[in-house]
């Protein structure tokens, strides 16, 4: 089973920044998950003002630039883990040395979860990141 863990920093104090120890603890946690063979991927996000929101009202796309004062929570980063049960995922999430944050644990959709007619048109492999120009033989494709 795969889970995505979203980390939402809680804005308790505008100026609060994680300390060096907090960062080191987080690195230890990430390494622990890697060493246990459960961590598939992780990334941290730059602040929302470096990005944008694209709002679809109906089918119309509208770009909204920051600041996003109205947003109560913004994603700070994510982990993708592969575990045997929901409880194991919960246990890993609880071990996160988080400070002032909320972690949302969400099981990821497995292809067989989708209805058959959607499975037929659902292309979740766009080969992104696979075709690497430095890779031998990549130019043959």
């Amino acid at each position: 089973m795969r889970f995505m863990m979203f980390m939402y920093p809680l804005p308790v104090d505008e100026d609060w920044k994680p300390s060096a120890e907090d960062m080191a603890a987080m690195t230890r946690y990430n390494l622990e998950m890697r060493d246990a063979g459960v961590l598939l991927a992780l990334d941290g996000m730059r602040p929302p003002e470096d990005g944008a929101s694209i709002l679809f009202e109906g089918r119309e796309a509208r770009v909204i630039d920051g600041p996003f004062a109205e947003a109560k929570e913004v994603v700070g980063g994510y982990w993708i883990i592969q575990v045997r049960s929901t409880e194991e995922a919960l246990e890993w999430a609880k071990r996160c040395p988080g400070v002032n944050c909320r972690i949302e644990l969400r099981p990821m959709v497995e292809p067989e979860d989708l209805p058959k007619q959607i499975q037929e048109v659902y292309d979740y492999n766009l080969h992104i990141g696979v075709d690497d120009p430095s890779a031998p033989g990549a130019d043959a494709g």
Binding site: G37, S85, E88, E91, P111, Y122, Y124, A135, A140
Partner: protein, 433 residues
């Protein structure tokens, strides 16, 4: 809110995360897998009893270890229930504990890693049969129950239990040392450990029968073990090569079986169903193997072949020249008639059917392949590409007579009757592709 079932599941989740490290640490101390496992189990029972009341402690791993060690000291004190040898071990442990105090509980991280690796090598000890290695690894490193192992391998639970106790007895008899082998011995024994992880994966991957989730479970277990191994033995190209191979093969899990559970061949699979995250991870692991000074081993080369397929958006885009070269390297390193046969297919794709056919005729002389249906099947393929249809039909009929698989036989007979395109696929798809 949390009922007793939830609490139990939570303890089991902790167990799942901690058991291998716990057993590994205890085995190093008591030098006996049976005793280590008993002590770890006792600690689990204590946790199941205490945690639903007290909540899960902040450092559950340390709690379990401390509990197991206290239990060991108890056993040493009233050493009447254990065999003599076990008494001695437990007694020795008691002395160590008394002298070392609680400091052994807080181990350095790399020591924990060493313990785990030592446990892997012990579970894959040369004195054990391959079946015993697989079972012991799943039990002690994967934390699977005997019930789960029995279900995964379609064997009776008592058989699993017997296999486990016999394995532990053997390790006791040969005085397995619970250390990571050093230098040349590590090189000599690493393939045994890698093989066990590979076999666990294949058990889940190749069998088309059985409960599907159990099969997926075995593949995921092997992936987890393979990832751990690559972290613990980062300078071994084959550790990275193996996990690269497994990640890429696992990326095809959703595409390799048809709606009725029938296997779909690699070139016929719907590549949009391949898992891109696992492909990226596999290719990255392969790159790590390639960056090491030692050349790729058999797993690394198989991973490189798998990566060629993974990189091709469509089957027609496959870099067959490179696949053929990799098979040649693999054949030189780990000669096998099956590798040669695959090489003949790749050579035929890369350099034309005549060249493939010439190689195939050399390969077919191997007595091991005399009654192997894929030889005439591949020959039929190559004849077909050369337009020699009646010879091709004869080969397909011969192949059909050699296979035990009903759906394969039907496919071969259909090809013999010229009902399929010259690549063996239905005509409509062939003309579209």
């Amino acid at each position: 809110m949390a009922g007793p079932t939830d609490a139990r599941a939570a303890v089991e989740a902790v167990w799942r995360i901690e058991s291998a490290r716990l057993v590994a640490g205890l085995a190093r101390l008591v030098r006996d897998l049976g005793v280590a496992e008993d002590l770890a189990q006792d600690a689990l029972v204590a946790a199941l009893e205490a945690w639903p009341r007290t909540g899960i402690p902040d450092n559950p791993g340390a709690w379990l270890m401390a509990t197991a060690k206290n239990r060991a000291i108890d056993l040493a004190r009233r050493a009447t229930t254990y065999e003599r040898k076990r008494d001695a071990i437990a007694h020795e442990l008691g002395l160590m504990m008394a002298m070392g105090g609680a400091s052994v509980v807080a181990q350095a991280e790399d020591e924990v890693g060493d313990d785990l690796l030592a446990l892997m090598f012990t579970c894959c000890h040369p004195a054990l049969s391959v079946d015993a290695r697989v079972t012991l690894t799943l039990r002690l490193l994967g934390g699977l129950t005997t019930t789960e192992i029995a279900r995964a391998f379609f064997i009776a639970e008592p058989t699993v239990a017997r296999r486990l106790s016999r394995a532990k007895r053997t390790l006791r008899e040969v005085r397995a040392d619970f250390e990571v082998p050093a230098g040349a011995e590590l090189q000599a024994r690493l393939p045994d450990v890698l093989e066990v992880v590979y076999l666990i994966f294949n058990e889940g991957y190749t069998a088309s029968s059985g409960e599907r989730w159990v099969r997926t479970e075995l593949c995921e277990e092997a992936l987890r073990l393979g990832r751990i191994l690559a972290v613990l033995a980062p300078r071994e190209p084959e550790a990275h090569g193996l996990i690269a191979l497994l990640e890429i093969q696992a990326s095809r899990l959703a595409a390799r079986l048809g709606p009725d559970g029938e296997p779909i061949l690699l070139l016929d699979q719907d590549r949009s169903r391949w898992d891109p995250l696992l492909i990226v991870r596999g290719v990255a692991a392969l790159r790590r193997a390639e960056k090491l000074p030692a050349p790729l081993g058999p797993y690394g080369l198989q991973a490189a072949i798998a990566a060629c397929h993974a990189r091709a958006p469509r089957a027609a885009d496959t870099d067959w020249v490179r696949v053929a070269a990799l098979y040649e390297a693999l054949a030189a390193l780990a000669p096998s008639p099956i590798v040669e046969l695959n090489r003949a297919v790749a050579v035929g794709m890369a350099f034309g059917p005549e060249v493939g056919l010439a190689l195939l005729e050399r390969v077919a002389e191997d007595p091991a392949l005399r009654d192997y249906h894929l030889v005439p099947s591949v020959r039929g393929d190559l004849f077909m590409k050369l337009g020699r249809t009646s010879e091709a039909a004869a080969e397909f009929r011969h192949a059909a007579s050699l296979t035990n698989n009903e759906s394969e036989r039907r496919l071969l007979l259909a090809r013999a009757a010229g009902k399929l395109g010259d690549d063996g696929r239905p005509q409509s798809r062939h003309s579209a592709g």
